[in-house]
């Protein structure tokens, strides 16, 4: 065997090793969470409220709270983000304004999440007097999701071939018709990808909702937008830092983590399935 072949094999070997290490890290991660949390999982765990100062019972209010927070914040951020992206991509004049918006969006994307929490508390909770509530938390999470959605949507709209928009305009369509009938439908799968990523982010964030929406312990379910809510990531934080019965609380915390993982996974799977359906129907 000559040297070139040997170095080729060595290279492929090194790459395989990297792949194995990554896969191993993921497996160890999943195993350590699931093995520690598995024992507490049951139907009662996800359908009952916590009892006896979080040492038994389930996590139903927190599960519901996280679902509400995620759905409401995405419902706010998605239309806002997509419309911003349309403006940036199609009407972006004058250019200095576009540049400022883009810099703002990218800066927003890099802000640590705890700062969003402080910002949300200052603006939504105190200034707008929403108090610590589902609505205040959803707004805060929506601002966190915005840059992700704007960037993904803008990228998706930019990758719509100019051939399509030219054809539409040449047939006498207005710019508005071209965006609604050609650009948006073509970009939709990639916009959804952006939405999927932000769903994962939003559902798992703790810091932004700490001061704006979440409560340690509540036996009643959220009934309105102005209610405080429990949320899965914050519930984990509470179980690990508060209370006095670590022996009972720690497995519950890991169980909650498993539920959160599968919730995010489930939402992503659903969105991917929808995206796949759209792509398949279009055959390109």
């Amino acid at each position: 065997m000559n040297l070139r072949k040997l170095s080729n094999h060595a290279g492929i070997g090194a790459l395989s090793l990297c792949l194995l290490l990554t896969a191993l890290a993921l497996l160890v991660f999943l195993w350590s969470i699931i093995s520690k949390g598995w024992s507490v999982l049951s139907w009662e765990f996800i359908s009952q409220p916590p009892r006896e100062a979080m040492t038994s019972g389930g996590i139903y209010p927190a599960l519901l709270g996280t679902l509400y927070l995620t759905v409401i914040s995405i419902a706010i951020a998605l239309p806002l983000g997509v419309m911003t992206a349309i403006y940036l991509n199609n009407y972006g004049k004058p250019h200095w304004l576009v540049r400022i918006v883009k810099v703002a969006v990218n800066t927003l994307a890099g802000v640590p999440s705890i700062i969003y929490g402080l910002f949300g508390m200052a603006v939504f909770v105190n200034l707008l007097r929403l108090d610590v509530s589902l609505l205040a938390g959803s707004f805060t999470l929506a601002i966190l999701a915005l840059p992700l959605i704007i960037n993904a949507s803008e990228e998706a709209l930019r990758s719509v071939p100019k051939d399509f928009t030219d054809a539409s305009l040449a047939l006498g369509a207005t710019e508005r018709q071209t965006i609604l009938r050609v650009s948006l439908p073509t970009a939709l799968p990639n916009i959804l990808t952006g939405a999927i990523i932000s769903i994962g982010r939003v559902a798992g964030e703790t810091a932004p909702i700490m001061f704006t929406a979440a409560t340690f312990y509540s036996r009643k379910l959220p009934k309105s937008l102005s209610d405080e809510v429990m949320a899965l990531p914050y519930h984990i934080f509470a179980l690990m830092t508060e209370g006095s019965n670590a022996q009972k609380q720690v497995p519950i915390a890991y169980g909650t983590a498993v539920v959160l993982l599968f919730l995010v996974l489930g939402i992503s799977a659903l969105a991917i399935a929808i995206r796949y359906q759209i792509r398949r129907k279009r055959k390109w």
Binding site: L169, A170, L171, G172, R282, K283, W284
Partner: protein, 259 residues
Amino acid sequence: MVNEASCLLNTHICVQNLNLWFGTNHVLHAVDLCLYEHRITALIGPSGCGKTTLLRCFNRMNDLIDGTRITGTLLLDDEDIYYPKAQVTSIRSRVGMVFQKPNPFPKSIYANVAYGLAITGKYSKAQIRERVRESLMSAWLWDEVKDRLHDSAMSLSGGQQQRLCIARALANQPRVLLLDEPTSALDPQSTAKIEELLTELKKQVTILIVTHNIAQAGRISDYTAFMYLGDLIEFGETQQVFTVPKDPATEAYLTGVFG
């Protein structure tokens, strides 16, 4: 003002003293050109001579490029389409355009042809259905697609896609059909079919075609315009331009001295 000599009776689209700049780049120099009704006019010339730019003046597609400035007039049925208050969407719906690369929308075959009518909001579903059928028949595509009108247009072959684009343009019943090197991305059979189709289509619509293929211009066009470096050098009946060109540059281009 008007070059009357070049505007004979049966013309309905006339370019008069048209100048175009992209930024500071003077691309078209005082172009005068009239298209004869129900005839095919070929625009030929070397790359970068401005023939595509001139073509895109006829439906104001150059408006989409930042920094474009245009002076002069372009009359479509006695209406100056560069009149400041002219309705661009209305002009474009009366001027069909087919692009170099087949560019059907990622929609169904039916939705592609119906698009230009659907966006006006003026036609009933039955009217649109009828016009889609007529247009597909005119573009010689009906028999190939009548059983799968709701399949994706992307499932068609390249040549079929280009004929679909022609049908899509015809659905608006345009006064003139602009084609920008419509066969340069196609195989010889598809090219032959489209050439044959165009000579049939001139019965219903005036045609202006940009082509790099001199032989193609010779085969299908009635009139030929030769452009060079932003000037319209020569315009005349194709047979005359090809056999006894008046300008030495035209002769040099046609005989392959440059290109």
